[in-house]
Symmetry: C2
Subunit: 408 residues, 2 copies
């Protein structure tokens, strides 16, 4: 069975990981920074070594296409991810998907393969959304969900315009962002969660992306003396917020998905004063849109009940809402078969994090392959995926892309 060159892939990950170093084992390559440019230049050089046809589009997405005279009129099979990072990042997130894609092409080229369809690797612009919002902007534009003009208008905290920064680093391309319409898209990524590692599973078959709703909730009670105010006469905003947290967990247990209260502030925040105000955020995610709606509905009813029982006013601001994404069933099955053929243990799961693949799913059959993140850690210098898992993931990508590229 054909195998990717693991040593070569790992050395490429290591090399790209040295760009933007900001610590002995840490790097920062914010989108369209000098470090991002340096990373792009390196990947572009590797694409050129493979004689790929380079397409840089209006929003800075880079696609390297391995075409032949025979297949160049066919819709290409694409893989890819991103190479921009968060602050103090690990070496895998995003980079793995891009570099494994190049490794697959190189392996197939060395083996003398003549695929029926072009194979391509795309580096999407600004996946992380740390410097410029929205995140996933490059893949969103690729899928036609945002115009280049809208992308250019994004401003970073120093007042710099995305369009200007794209030109400055030399990646303001001329191809239309929506020019390439792939036959299929498949992305390899680290899990960024603990499921595979905890279960000792080698390959994750990603069925989709969870829907995400963010609420900012303000509970108004009444500040009063913690010693002299009997339980029955309290309007304790902090206690009401605590009840929401506990209830949100039971909702996740009942409906599936996850619910997280990550931020909370009490006022006046004094030891012996009953909180008059609690402001918190709640992050709700579920792979099923109906169940996500049911969770929000149940929360709304809980707020109404709290208003009665705890004598507090509750207002809810809906900050963000993304519907769940379901990947293509046939592509999911193809990846699962590939993992099985290679003899790797696998499990189907849903991505809790947003991914470029969720945008690509709008325009073509899409799926993802996950490899384990040790301890579930990502977006951290401690992010780690063992070498064997990196290679297994790349081999499942090889197997899957090889099959896809032969399809009519």
């Amino acid at each position: 069975m054909l195998q990717i060159n693991g040593q070569r892939l790992l050395s490429h990950i290591q090399k790209l990981g040295t760009i933007g170093h900001d610590g002995p084992a840490s790097r920062t390559r914010l989108a369209l920074s000098d470090a991002d440019k340096e990373g792009r230049d390196l990947v572009l050089a590797w694409m050129r070594e493979l004689q790929l046809r380079i397409v840089i589009d209006q929003v800075g997405n880079i696609t390297g296409l391995w075409e032949t005279e025979e297949n160049k009129d066919q819709a290409p099979v694409l893989t890819g991810s991103h190479i921009d990072t968060v602050i103090h990042a690990g070496p895998y997130d995003g980079c793995l998907g891009v570099l494994a894609g190049l490794e697959v092409i190189q392996t197939l080229q060395e083996q003398g393969s003549r695929p029926r369809r072009p194979l391509g690797v795309t580096v999407f612009m600004n996946e992380e959304g740390v410097r410029f919002q929205p995140d996933l902007a490059g893949s969103l534009a690729f899928a036609g969900g945002i115009t280049p003009a809208q992308v250019y208008a994004c401003i970073d905290k120093d007042g710099l315009r995305l369009g200007d920064e794209l030109a400055r680093i030399g990646y303001l391309g001329t191809a239309e962002a929506t020019a390439i319409r792939p036959y299929a898209f498949l992305e390899l990524h680290i899990e960024q969660g603990p499921v595979l590692d905890a279960a000792g599973i080698q390959i994750g078959i990603v069925e989709g992306i969870q829907g995400l709703h963010w609420q900012r909730v303000t509970i108004e009670g009444k500040a009063n003396h913690a010693g002299t105010t009997p339980i029955s006469l309290r309007h304790d905003a902090g206690l009401a917020a605590a009840k929401v947290n506990v209830y949100a967990r039971t909702l996740a247990e009942t409906y599936g998905g996850v619910a997280t209260i990550g931020t909370l502030a009490l006022k006046p925040n004094a030891v012996n004063v009953i909180p008059r105000e609690a402001v918190f955020t709640i992050d709700l995610r579920h792979p099923d849109a109906d169940k996500l709606a049911a969770v929000e509905q149940a929360l709304d009813e809980f707020y109404t009940g709290l208003h009665q029982t705890d004598h507090v006013q509750i207002s809810v601001e809906h900050m963000t809402a993304f519907d769940p994404v379901h990947f293509d069933d046939r592509l999911i099955q193809l990846v699962e078969d590939a993992a099985q053929k290679r003899g790797y243990s696998s499990r189907r799961l849903v991505s809790g994090a947003g991914q470029d693949a969720q945008m690509m799913a709008r325009i073509c059959p899409t799926a993802m392959i996950f490899v384990p993140s040790i301890g579930g850690i990502s977006h951290s210098p401690d992010e780690y995926t063992p070498d064997e898992d990196v290679c297994r993931g790349a081999n499942v990508l090889l197997e899957s892309l090889s099959v896809l590229a032969t399809r009519a």
Copy 2:
């Protein structure tokens, strides 16, 4: 039936309330400030008008004694409270008890009364504890619970020494703090809580002071991605803290007393990150020492359970612990009889706030009279007790002190 002069008492409260004005209806007289000196000077002048024998002790407590040749060797019946305030205070807290005491003496003098025991009014130094800690320092020294040297050594946030400030404002007295051993002590005070107002009751018969325990609790979990970390693999410090809050309320419902989580901070406090740390305070109060201990015991067991179920580390710092104080049964009954005799509705209750009377209870039979605080508000310019309630409280004080002063 003998009545105090309500108009006179109210005008005294109003006049003392103008000293230290820091807003149209707000005043600040921190202990041993210039405003406190001015307030002391005014009260001292009123004491002198009543021909009281003035005793200023080593820690700045002022006692005005109405003695006669016949009764000067008897232990005096004392009343009183304090005239120092918090920042932006109302006009009643503390001042009511001092000025009503003077009003009672003046009323009895005018009526030609010849009590069997001296009657006295004490102004205790630094009850509030805002500028110098500990609070209740004057009454604590009066009861022998702290030495003058310890009191002098207290330092405010500007580095000023209490002893120096006492001398500076001219109230470093020469009498021993423990010189006066009263026959009984009775304090009139606003409730500082909503119970009487909510129930429409005119007089509170205070049976004691709640015990108070403060804990600072640190819960350590693990920060992780809110989207990718399944419920079963979370170590959510914020959720664990919420569970403590909800459980503390059920403990108060089960055991009585009150429990309040007034401060809470999460780390890293990000919308999409599971909190790795929650630090909060919990204010526990109960009139019964055994039940307060049972509540803390139940909390300890709850922490142990949380460690198991929520996979978090919990550490508890015990910040403050005051035992409950039980006032004198005969004195409580005497006050209750006095309210009944006057035809006022009354209810027995326990003070949720600390009071000078709790220190005096260490050395003599002690009780307190409460009058309603509208809306339970105190320590605020909005603190308000209707005039009729002020007069009712002073009349119960008159009735009670009159009876006590005739006792052998």
